[in-house]
């Protein structure tokens, strides 16, 4: 087993790992944009022209996304590869999730611009934090080392703690920040402890590739001597990740934080953070510990069912739309867990599972960003009008906006010809392919319960008499563009999902 040890040559020369800068460009773009933004803002006394921060952020997001497509192309030709001494990898899932995160970032940036102006918050820091958080997310999804994964997680989380608390005028915002912070720190500690125990059991923190957890497990799982330590570690890893993806019973932060945080941030959390966390879950457990799947798959199974059922059940009794959407995002996490469960079966059906998870993450990221974008607008000045009442009469007042929200909601409910349906369908297909029929049926039934709450919002918009109090909902350009992009994507993928499905399938099979 000694070969697993990191080389400890007694030479003075430091052997730095070779760095393939080209493959790091997406990360560098985000980092660079963040730094330029922060430094530039700090240096200019009067701040930048309006909208420039957002433009820069959006541009960075687009650039990072495009670069990842380019990388994708090279992956197709040269195969997936590790980077910087196997700290991270460039492969199908990492790029796919990376693109999802960039999409979320783009949409968030577009929405935030107007939001900040409306709320009179002048903060380049917000964009900087978005960029850093996205960077953390990308790292999480691409990490090939538990330590790197942890650091990525912390980069993402800490940025989000701050973002959640960043609306200084809303007392709920700070409450959300504090709750998120305490619980996030708490669960990070568990996650970290899990890393320690896994390290203790295997002697490495690498996930895949040579001298990694995967190879160790492949060699030693038969002897079984250190299983206790290992599986306890895995359990704690799962706890940390389950917290991040908001799986029941580690979900309790979600509704409060989603409700309290500034709405664009909520959208970003629900899309980017969720994608990153699921990416991490895929990498750290599903793909790296297939030998232990008999241990953790039942846990995922239970988590998925609890998440689906409790998420949608609790959503039904809500009256605050943001909170509803929070619970609905929990329920969606349950759906993705169904895909993870299918992925756990390995083999071809496992690939199907991974593909379905990837597909779901991307479509959901766009979908939920769009939903929260509408919610941002309806929230009106002060970001407080999120009750169901606030949506009353939107169908008359702003028919197009109401219609787009309807599309988003129906997509989340899984109505055909929307991306949400295809996503659900692909997850169910994966589950059925893995013979997980029970969980598939429960997932679909939970989706029906969930549909109730989407209908409630629709009822408020279209079917109830009277109009909401407060100012008329305005639709500024940036947010409108974000909504437009989301709705277009949702419908295009709904009508013609083939290409994206193939892409996801490709990504799932192009693993490092």
């Amino acid at each position: 087993m000694h070969l697993l040890l990191s080389p400890m040559q007694q030479t003075d020369r430091l052997i730095s790992p070779s760095v393939n800068w080209g493959s790091l460009t997406p990360l560098l773009v985000l980092l660079g944009a963040g730094l330029v933004l922060l430094v530039g803002a700090a240096l200019s006394a009067r701040g930048w022209a309006k909208g420039l921060y957002a433009t820069l952020t959006a541009a960075a997001a687009v650039a990072a996304g495009v670069l990842q497509f380019v990388l994708w192309n090279s992956t197709v030709h040269n195969g997936p590869k590790p980077l910087v001494g196997e700290a991270i990898v460039v492969d199908g899932p990492s790029l796919f999730i990376g693109i999802s995160i960039c999409a979320a970032l783009l949409l968030a940036a577009l929405v935030t611009d107007n939001y900040l102006r409306r709320e009179d918050i002048d903060s380049p820091e917000v964009y900087g934090l978005y960029l850093m958080a996205a960077l953390g997310g990308l790292v999480m999804a691409a990490s090939n080392d538990l330590i790197v994964l942890f650091l990525g997680l912390e980069v993402l989380s800490i940025a989000l703690y701050v973002l959640a608390a960043s609306h200084r005028k809303r007392i709920e915002s700070q409450e959300a920040g504090l709750k998120y912070f305490i619980l996030g720190g708490f669960s990070s500690a568990f996650f970290l402890y899990g890393i320690a125990l896994v390290y203790g059991a295997t002697g490495t923190t690498r996930l895949r590739g040579p001298e990694s957890i995967k190879t160790v497990l492949a060699l030693t799982v038969e002897t079984d001597k250190h299983r206790a330590l290992l599986v306890v570690g895995v359990a704690l890893l799962l706890v940390g990740l389950a917290f991040k993806v908001a799986a029941v019973p580690f979900h309790s932060w979600t509704p409060d934080v989603y409700q309290g945080a500034p709405t664009p941030v909520t959208g970003f959390m629900a899309s980017a953070a969720k994608a990153a966390a699921f990416g991490a879950l895929l990498r750290s457990v599903v793909l790296s510990m297939p030998e232990l799947r008999d241990d953790w798959r039942p846990a995922i199974w239970v988590l998925a069912i609890l998440t689906l059922v409790i998420g949608s059940t609790l959503a039904v009794v809500q009256t605050n739309v943001k909170r509803m959407l929070a619970y609905s995002s929990i329920s969606h996490a349950g759906f993705i867990l169904v895909g993870i469960e299918a992925a756990a079966h390995g083999g071809e059906s496992g690939d199907r599972g991974i593909a379905s998870v990837l597909f779901y993450l991307l479509t959901y990221a766009v979908l939920v960003s769009g939903t929260f974008a509408v919610s941002t607008l309806v929230g009106r000045s002060g970001d407080g009008a999120h009750g169901l009442d606030s949506y009353r009469g939107l169908g008359r007042q702003r028919p197009v906006l109401a219609l787009t929200l309807t599309v988003f909601l129906l997509a989340q409910a899984g109505v055909p010809l929307t991306s949400g349906f295809v996503a659900k369908f692909s997850v169910i297909t994966a589950a059925a392919d893995a013979s997980s029929y029970a969980i598939a049926i429960i997932a679909m039934l939970a989706a029906v319960i969930g549909a109730f709450l989407y209908l409630r919002i629709i009822v408020s918009m279209f079917l109830e008499d009277g109009d909401a109090e407060g100012e008329r909902v305005s639709i500024p350009f940036g947010t409108g563009a974000a909504i437009g992009i989301s709705v277009a994507f949702t419908l295009v993928v709904g009508f013609f999902p083939g290409w994206l499905l193939e892409l996801a399938r490709d990504a799932a099979t192009r693993l490092y």
Partner: protein
């Protein structure tokens, strides 16, 4: 033998300090108890020959972090004594320790079950000869295998800075007013 004594002594510091953090009602006292624990941990690091870490532990943790805590406590006057005798949510009082006991019991069991069954026995080993060797190795590890992670920490620190600026900055109005004033003056 001396190792055992050191272990027990340091462990008493650790546990005592930890209990102090949890049980002392005054946050200042809690912070000071935390220092005790941190020192105890540092002692353990030393006895496990992680000298550099021990030093960092004392400097960063005890030196910086706890001071920060105390500073905030004193600055903001949140040093109100927390009434630990009453508990608005009683189940928290029973179930909280129960969770603690559960975690301890389960992880402890795992540790004991897995005792001595680690995969790797010493092959090349840590260089335990010179103290600087520890630093060297650490540095080597940090800048070769973990160079990416190391760079990430920088991002983390940037976030911490930016975040604190964003959170702790006074609301815009004052700023703007000040700017306007300056503009008028100019």
């Amino acid at each position: 033998m001396i190792e055992v004594i050191v272990f027990i002594a340091a462990s008493l510091m650790v546990i005592g300090g930890a209990l102090g953090v949890v049980l002392r009602s005054n946050p200042v006292h809690a912070a000071l108890s935390l220092v005790l624990t941190l020192f105890g941990v540092a002692v353990h690091f030393v006895s496990m020959e992680a000298h550099f870490l021990a030093a960092v532990q004392v400097i960063v943790y005890a030196g910086a972090i706890v001071v920060l805590f105390l500073f905030v406590i004193m600055l903001l006057g949140v040093d109100k004594v927390e009434d630990l005798r009453t508990e608005p949510m009683m189940r928290q009082r029973y179930l909280g320790p129960l969770v603690g006991v559960g975690v301890l019991g389960l992880v402890g069991t795992a540790v004991i079950v897995a005792r001595g069954r680690t995969i790797v026995q010493s092959v090349e080993g840590l260089d335990t000869v010179g103290h600087d060797a520890n630093v060297k190795q650490l540095a080597r590890s940090l800048f070769s295998d973990y160079v990416f992670a190391f760079e990430l920490t920088s991002v983390l620190l940037v976030i911490a800075v930016v975040g604190t600026v964003l959170l702790a900055r006074r609301p815009n109005k004052g700023l703007q007013a000040a700017r306007e004033k300056a503009g008028v003056n100019a």
